[in-house]
């Protein structure tokens, strides 16, 4: 299977690989996918007091397109507000990386990971 240059670039030089403390109240963690499906993506965001994502980290078990999708997303979410980030759609990721149809699910997973990370962060900041 031929990969696009963008996928290869993210795969060979993944951005923002790593982990943050899950217990930190400023960190939201989203883990989506399952080993059974061959993809597990973990996205973490660190949100500052102004509600802006100041850092993002990922780790992904999955094919090259899954790794590239999550690497790209960490770049895209940094510096944005949660509301802005919620606008990112899987279609945007698939278009940027020129994913073939059989790899669209990787971009869907990346969108799910953003939503899960935001949900986790917000669950730590429930305002009565």
């Amino acid at each position: 299977m031929a990969y696009t240059d963008k996928v290869i670039d993210h795969y060979e030089n993944p951005r923002n690989v790593g982990s943050m403390d899950k217990e930190d109240p400023s960190v939201g963690t989203g883990m989506v996918g399952a080993p059974a499906c061959g993809d597990v993506m973990r996205l973490q965001i660190k949100v500052n007091e102004q509600g802006i994502i100041e850092d993002a980290k990922f780790k992904t078990y999955g094919c090259g397109s899954a790794i590239a999708s999550s690497s790209l997303v960490t770049e895209w979410v940094k510096g944005k507000t949660l509301d802005e980030v919620k606008q990112i759609r899987n279609k945007d990721i698939a278009e940027e990386l020129e994913l073939p149809p059989v790899k669209i699910h990787c971009s869907v997973l990346a969108e799910d990971a953003i939503a899960a990370a935001i949900a986790d962060y917000q669950s730590k900041h429930v305002t009565a």
Binding site: V32, G33, A34, P35, C63, D112
Partner: protein, 406 residues
């Protein structure tokens, strides 16, 4: 010394044609060469071509201990499997309509059985043991009064395990059941002596044994006499079992390839075993590395390994300097991991993490050493990226995690 990249370690997918074979084939193509139709009876062009075809038939028969009259040319092992299974099931249908085979067979066997199911046959698909081998008792217990045919492959294409064909065959003989064996991956790798082996039908391929693609053969036993219904009708070639003009150059290529295999098998297998053991020794000191299929009862040409917590397709991407195949889903559009590894009872992570290395005539020690270093680097890098590896390192039992399936 300089290494030529990429390194080919996918000999079970296909082998290059041996130079000696290619030369013989070229002699059967042009006006200057042996181009005649082997079925032409009225002139020397036909006679010469027929002689070449019959010499090749002798060579193929010699490698497997058969009588040349028991060898029927086909287009490859897929066609041989179709002819054997459909042909025997249809010819003997009055006896019964039940077939026994394995879940780890090649698709050419499984899909042929599925086609027969649509014609009203009943098929039992037996799972192997976790080591890939078929349990003799389970096989015996699956045979019924109305079982007409059993089909078990000699050497598995994904994991390289060697089934106990002699024992399976004698059980079939006792019960009067036709026994077919797909030996596409076996020629030149294991000794085959059909004088002794109680096998009724055996499929062969040329291109897994340094012959050309597009040619194969079916062994059809004469003592006891086994009959198959033709699947290809026409001029009545191959004693009516398979019509179609014989491809002299292909047939000559298969004959020469099998002749060379017979001569060089013993020394070649020793050399390849040494290479395989060297690779396995080099990989084994990594953590969480698992061999798929029994180590002893397998051909030396195959090493199928799961690198836990690393997904197979991403690993193949990192191993772009070597040509290997993966049992992982993503290499195909199916999104299902290898059905062979699943049949062994491997969990999904391990099934998704497998790489099949297959070695052959042109593999060198230098290549193996390069591969060891490359695989170690790639697995290390991908584990750094893998949340599953991190969880494993943190002592989290992955089977206890509730995954968000999507």
């Amino acid at each position: 010394m300089t290494l030529k990249l990429p390194i080919y370690l996918d000999y079970s997918a296909t082998t290059p044609v041996d130079e000696r074979v290619a030369k013989k084939m070229c002699d059967c193509l042009t006006a200057e060469g042996n181009f005649g139709n082997p079925a032409s009876r009225s002139h020397v062009f036909g006679w010469k071509a027929e002689e070449a075809v019959e010499d090749a038939r002798d060579q193929v028969a010699a490698l497997v201990g058969a009588d040349p009259k028991e060898i029927v040319w086909t287009s490859g092992a897929t066609e041989s499997n179709n002819l054997a299974i459909k042909g025997a099931a249809q010819f003997y249908k009055k006896k019964g309509r039940h077939i026994v085979t394995m879940t780890t067979e090649h698709k050419a066997v499984i899909d042929t059985c599925r086609a027969l199911e649509r014609e009203g046959y009943e098929v039992t698909y037996l799972d192997p043991e976790p080591d890939g081998l078929l349990d003799i008792e389970k096989f015996s217990a699956a045979l019924r009064e109305d079982t007409v045919l059993a089909s078990v492959m000699f050497v598995n294409n994904e994991i390289g395990v060697v089934q106990d064909i002699a024992q399976l065959g004698s059980i079939c003989r006792e019960k009067g059941i036709i026994f077919h064996v797909d030996a596409a991956q076996a020629t030149g790798k294991v000794k085959i002596d059909l004088q002794d082996l109680p096998v009724d039908l055996m499929s062969f391929s040329a291109h897994k044994t340094y012959g050309p693609k597009g040619i194969g053969a079916l062994y059809v036993c004469r003592k006891p006499r086994v009959r198959v219904e033709a699947q290809m009708h026409g001029g009545g070639h191959e004693r009516g079992m398979r019509s179609g003009t014989l491809a002299t150059h292909q047939i000559v290529g298969m004959g020469e390839a099998f002749r060379i295999a017979g001569l060089e098998m013993a020394s070649e297998n020793e050399r390849i075993r040494m290479l395989r053991d060297r690779l396995w020794a080099g990989l084994q000191d990594m953590e969480e590395v698992y061999l798929n299929g029994d180590f002893e009862r397998r051909v030396p040409h195959n090493l199928n390994v799961s690198f836990n917590y690393v997904e197979g397709e991403s690993l193949i991407m990192a191993l772009k300097d070597i040509a290997v195949s993966s049992g992982s889903a993503c290499t195909s559009a199916s999104l299902e991991p290898s059905y062979v590894l699943r049949a062994l009872g491997r969990n999904d992570e391990l099934a998704h993490s497998s790489i099949r290395f297959t070695f052959g005539r042109y593999t060198t020690v230098e290549e193996i050493d390069y591969v060891i270093a490359l695989v170690k680097r790639a697995v290390g890098k991908l584990r750094e990226l893998s949340p599953l590896w991190e969880m494993y390192k943190d002592g989290i039992d992955l089977s206890s995690v509730e995954w968000a399936h999507h």
